[in-house]
């Protein structure tokens, strides 16, 4: 009856090993599927428009920003809606996922007290749910581009690679912030307050060219600017991202993933007592 390979050792002070966690996640692939399914369906279960809200939220914001910035502030940006949305979709994924993964661990705290599941599964499921929404938003964007007769470029085919890089970057940041938020309630508040500020420090809504020279370095050196750039370039400019921006984005996402994991593994074994 006893299967030898299912022997598990729980040693005081042992920290999580990446290889073990990956194996554990693979063994819970079905749970990952269920969590994503639950994220995507329960939220809208009792609403009339259901899943459509996923697309309506960015569309409404687009309408607002398009009116405010292209008509009131008069940027000289052709097809402003594409310019804005191509970056905003990626931004929205980042901001939503970071927020949701912190909420997910808090919500699922009771689960963690009752069954043993890989600790990072809630963060990973938040990323995957975000990715599903991201892909849907992309579809909505392409539809909008068709409607407003914005040019569709062949470089669009590169977008999945860009989104993957953005996904990895976001996963790392989410792991770190999730672990920290379990221990320090302030972290969640700080992120909530910081995200809008970060949005305006990133060239999502406005072009970099309107930023006065003395402040331009803030926008240009902001890590998120590189990640936004590699998504916007193939959609709006019809070019593959420049090697400089692409290299920066890849390096940043690797640093984020490794750093995020190191922070996560330090805190994760003690989650149970805190959630």
């Amino acid at each position: 009856m006893i299967v030898q390979h299912q022997e598990r050792h729980y040693v005081a002070g042992a920290s999580l090993r990446a290889a073990d966690e990956i194996q554990d996640l693979a063994g819970h692939a079905n749970l990952l599927f269920e969590l994503v399914h639950r994220d995507l369906t329960i939220r809208y279960k009792r609403s009339v428009f259901g899943f459509l809200w996923t697309m309506m939220h960015p569309l409404l914001l687009m309408a607002i920003f398009t009116i405010v910035f292209s008509h009131l502030f008069r940027f000289q940006t052709p097809h402003y809606e594409t310019y804005f949305l191509s970056a905003f979709i990626a931004w929205n994924f980042f901001a939503q996922t970071v927020t949701n993964s912190m909420a997910s661990v808090a919500w699922n705290g009771p689960l963690m007290k009752r069954v043993r599941v890989p600790r990072s599964i809630f963060t990973l499921s938040a990323i995957l749910s975000g990715m599903v929404n991201l892909v849907l938003s992309m579809v909505a964007l392409i539809v909008i581009m068709l409607i407003v007769h914005a040019p569709l470029f062949l470089s669009l085919l590169f977008v999945p690679v860009s989104l993957l890089i953005v996904g990895i970057f976001t996963f790392g940041i989410s792991l770190a912030l999730t672990a920290l938020s379990v221990f320090f309630a302030d972290v969640r508040e700080m992120v909530q307050a910081g995200l809008p500020a970060l949005l305006y420090m990133t060239p999502v809504i406005y072009p970099v060219s309107i930023v006065p020279a003395p402040y331009r370095w803030i926008v240009e050196r902001n890590p998120l600017s590189y990640l936004i750039e590699i998504v916007r370039a193939p959609i709006y400019y019809g070019q593959l991202p420049g090697p400089h921006a692409l290299a920066a984005a890849v390096i940043l996402s690797v640093i984020s993933l490794v750093g995020g994991w190191l922070i996560f593994r330090k805190f994760a074994p003690k989650f149970e007592g805190r959630v």
Binding site: M1, I2, V3, Q4, Q6, E7, R8, H9, Y10, V11, A12, A14, G27, H28, N30, L31, F33, E34, L35, R38, I42, K45, R46, P110, L111, M112, K113, R114, V115, R116, V117, F183, F184, A185, D186, P269, K270, E272, G273, R274
Partner: protein
């Protein structure tokens, strides 16, 4: 072969949890001293196929012991080892989602326990039949009573082919008829060579279902042996305490 082993396992919580940056700034990063031991240097071995009851007053560390065995809590000191597939059934509502139906919750719970969709689909009818909730299987869980949720939880946990099942105080709910069926199922589980660890305040149930009983007091094992002997000592101790 042992299903569960613990060597000098302690679980302690530290005082004054730091919850805000302000507190952190005031207190600095020095480690606070442990102030509360939920388990204190527990060493035990539970053999595969044994049925073991865990008794003791509130706060004695019974649930903590189960959680360490299930890998939910990491020991603060010592080593715990578990062999084989373990299914814990802790308190009520083990990972239930109120917006989902009974059926969907069976799938979700199976996933939490590391089972595949196909495995759960195969068990679906048996689980619903055992719980006696046929009429409610497609209703959202928020319409269930506490007793109904408990029935569903027990039915799932005991249907998923675990080698070891950890039951924490779940027999207190449910009507008499369902409790009887639970008892039968636990006994057939044990007869099938599987391991059962049962935390309960119901000493009669422990006596009936478990040959061996472990008595915990303030996080330490104070009695371990034949259920009749340990339960008798425990009752005598309680009588002495007044």
């Amino acid at each position: 072969m042992n299903a569960i082993e613990m060597k000098a396992v302690s679980v302690c919580y530290r005082s004054e949890k730091i919850r805000s940056i302000k507190e952190l700034a005031v207190r600095g990063l020095r480690r606070s001293r442990p102030y509360f031991y939920s388990l204190r240097s527990v060493t035990l071995a539970i053999g595969a196929g044994e049925s073991v009851g865990i008794i003791g007053s509130n706060g004695a560390g019974k649930s903590t012991l189960l959680r360490v065995a299930a890998g939910i809590i990491q020991p603060s000191e010592g080593v715990a080892v578990s062999r084989g597939n373990i299914v814990p059934l802790m308190e009520l509502g083990t990972g239930f989602e109120t917006e989902l139906s009974g059926r969907e919750n069976i799938q979700f719970n199976g996933a939490l326990l590391g089972r595949t969709r196909a495995q759960m689909r195969a068990k679906m009818d048996a689980i619903i039949a055992f719980s006696g909730l046929e009429e409610f299987a497609d209703a959202p869980l928020r319409t269930y009573s506490t007793g109904m949720v408990a029935r569903l939880a027990f039915s799932i946990a005991t249907a998923v082919d675990a080698e070891t099942i950890l039951l924490d105080e779940i027999l207190a709910v449910g009507d008499a008829g369902f409790r009887e069926r639970c008892d039968e199922r636990i006994q057939s589980f044990a007869r099938g060579g599987r391991t059962v660890v049962l935390v309960s305040h119901d000493l009669d149930a422990v006596l009936k279902l478990c040959r061996r009983t472990i008595w915990l007091s303030h996080g330490e094992i104070v009695g371990d042996g034949e259920s009749e002997d340990v339960i008798r000592d425990y009752q005598r101790h309680r009588a002495d305490q007044g």
